[in-house]
């Protein structure tokens, strides 16, 4: 069995289906690993780059989000990938439309620079906001935002590039500008500053379908008190399992495999379940 969870004897609560008692107990004492499709947005389109570069259009935000919701996505992440670069914000319409019919948590990121920006995103339908570039420029902003809106609303977003065997550098502006910051140390600091969750994206892996940077995730997830969402590199369902079992991620985000229809969400969740990883299978999920 994979070695996750507490080292204590599991508390037996409620009924478990006979024959699967151990797994059911396992499921019961920690909550499910979240599977989160990530939509990189430019203007009205969802795009998919590689190494956070280039702008191939892969779909319509509303269409993709709706499909993922009905397939059983646990959350959605919308990233406006040009907001910091162009100095503008553009997700409000997309969020408003999404929240009419999609009733799972929505995280919105890209170019968030002020409390007013956060307020606008939340009003439009976001539940959480992801902040990267501005947090690097002004770390106090994270604390301000957490105090104003609650830590659970503030996701610290890190774009990490490997610079040597065991070191990564943090980048901003959609993986474009070096910061000189040690990404792992910065991640921990974001939690200290008040972020209630971390989104950790590997620039090296993202878009390549070669698997997550589990080394990176593992340096962060077990060492912070906030949940960590692993992002960047998913190509096979085994990759998502590795992010959880090796990287110790609390949630896995993916884009390529969903936008290019390599896997459906139920297929991914089934594969995770087979690895002993608890996932949520909603009653109304359309199976493949």
């Amino acid at each position: 069995m994979p070695a996750i969870g507490a080292s204590r004897l599991p508390v037996f609560c409620a009924s478990a289906r006979p024959g699967r008692i151990f797994l059911a107990v396992y499921y019961i004492f920690m909550n499910s690993i979240r599977v989160i499709p990530r939509l990189d947005v430019k203007g009205p389109n969802v795009i998919k780059g590689v190494h956070l570069e280039c702008l191939r259009i892969v779909g319509d935000p509303e269409e993709l989000a709706t499909r993922y919701y009905h397939e059983g996505a646990d959350e959605l992440i919308y990233m406006d990938i040009v907001a910091s670069l162009y100095g503008r914000n553009n997700l409000l319409d997309i969020l408003e439309k999404a929240s009419e019919n999609i009733f799972i948590p929505l995280t919105a990121g890209g170019g968030i620079r002020s409390l007013e920006d956060i307020k606008r995103m939340l009003r439009a339908g976001a539940d959480k906001v992801a902040i990267n570039t501005h947090a690097v420029r002004n770390p106090g902003f994270i604390t301000q935002a957490a105090q104003a809106f609650g830590a659970q609303c503030i996701v610290g977003s890190i774009e990490a590039k490997r610079i040597s065997d065991n070191r990564w550098e943090a980048y901003t502006d959609n993986g474009r500008v070096e910061t000189g910051l040690d990404a792992v140390a910065w991640a921990k600091e974001l939690v200290q500053l008040g972020a209630g969750e971390l989104l950790v994206t590997s620039i090296d892996q993202e878009g390549t379908t070669k698997g997550y940077d589990t080394d990176l995730i593992k340096q962060i997830a077990p060492h912070v008190s906030a949940p960590v969402i692993a992002c960047g590199g998913a190509g096979k369902s085994a990759d998502l399992a590795a992010a959880v079992l090796v990287g110790r991620a609390d949630a896995v985000a993916a884009a390529h495999i969903f936008h290019y229809k390599k896997y459906t969400i139920p297929e991914v969740k089934q594969a995770l379940q087979e690895e002993g990883i608890p996932v949520r299978i909603p009653v109304s999920a359309k199976t493949a």
């Binding site: 996750i4 969870g5 507490a6 080292s7 204590r8 508390v11 609560c13 409620a14 009924s15 499921y27 019961i28 004492f29 920690m30 909550n31 499910s32 979240r34 919701y69 059983g72 646990d74 929240s99 009419e100 019919n101 009733f103 799972i104 948590p105 929505l106 939340l122 009003r123 439009a124 339908g125 539940d127 809106f149 609650g150 830590a151 659970q152 609303c153 209630g196 969750e197 077990p222 008190s225 906030a226 949940p227 609390d250 949630a251 949520r280 909603p282 009653v283 109304s284």
Partner: protein
């Protein structure tokens, strides 16, 4: 005739997603900062995200506290969500000691974390609703049509514990801790999770609430 649901706006919480979910569930859902508007509503929803002390202070400041107690005493259904559920209790120990609405007997305490466990606080994510008794089913009408082990979305660090176990309609289990996920007493209901963010399970719960109104 659509049920008229009033979402209480005391400055805390993301109300717009909630309004859309209630609308989707079939309500005529409105948001109001004015306690007087509660009178004409069929049912009330008390949302909340943030800290207990600050939330209660705002509620009092905006003149909601007594009117809510009056409406509930008069039989109007009230659904407290997340922090809103915690307000139903007598007191909370979040950042000090704060008085709640006292509609339910019991207290709000931090989710206990065993030293050395991997348990992360806040409790964020999907978790299963568990039937409290030995019967293995949900008795509450609020949970009609929802099977035990259905998952809903939680985001919280504190949990409300009713003194009367009869008030507990569903639990959830997070690492070593078991705490209530759904509480109810007569016409006052509380859910620790966010039904407006819990997919179709959440929508079902909201529909149930409407039918109770």
């Amino acid at each position: 005739m659509k049920k008229k649901i009033l979402i209480i706006d005391y400055g805390f919480g993301n109300l717009f997603g909630l309004q859309k979910a209630l609308t989707h569930a079939g309500a005529n859902a409105g948001i109001s900062e004015n306690p007087c508007d509660m009178q004409s509503a069929d049912a009330l929803v008390l949302p909340g995200v943030g800290a207990f002390g600050g939330g209660m202070a705002e509620m009092k400041k905006r003149g909601f506290k007594q009117p809510i107690l009056d409406q509930v005493a008069a039989g109007k259904p009230l659904l407290g969500i997340c922090l809103g559920m915690q307000f139903l209790f007598e007191k909370s120990y979040e950042f000090g000691e704060h008085e709640g609405l006292g509609i339910l007997e019991g207290e709000v305490k931090k989710i206990p974390v065993t030293a050395g466990s991997q348990c992360k606080i806040p409790h964020i994510g999907w978790n299963a609703l568990l039937a409290p008794g030995k019967g293995g089913v949900f008795a509450s009408k609020l949970l009609a049509g929802i099977k035990p082990h259905s998952q809903t979305y939680f985001v919280h660090s504190y949990a409300g514990y009713p003194s009367r176990t009869d008030d507990i309609q569903a639990n959830t289990c997070y690492y070593d801790s078991v705490f209530p996920a759904v509480v109810a007493r007569k016409n006052a209901f509380g859910v620790q999770f966010h039904p407006e963010k819990s997919g179709e399970t959440g929508i079902t719960l909201l529909r149930n609430f409407l039918s109770l109104s």
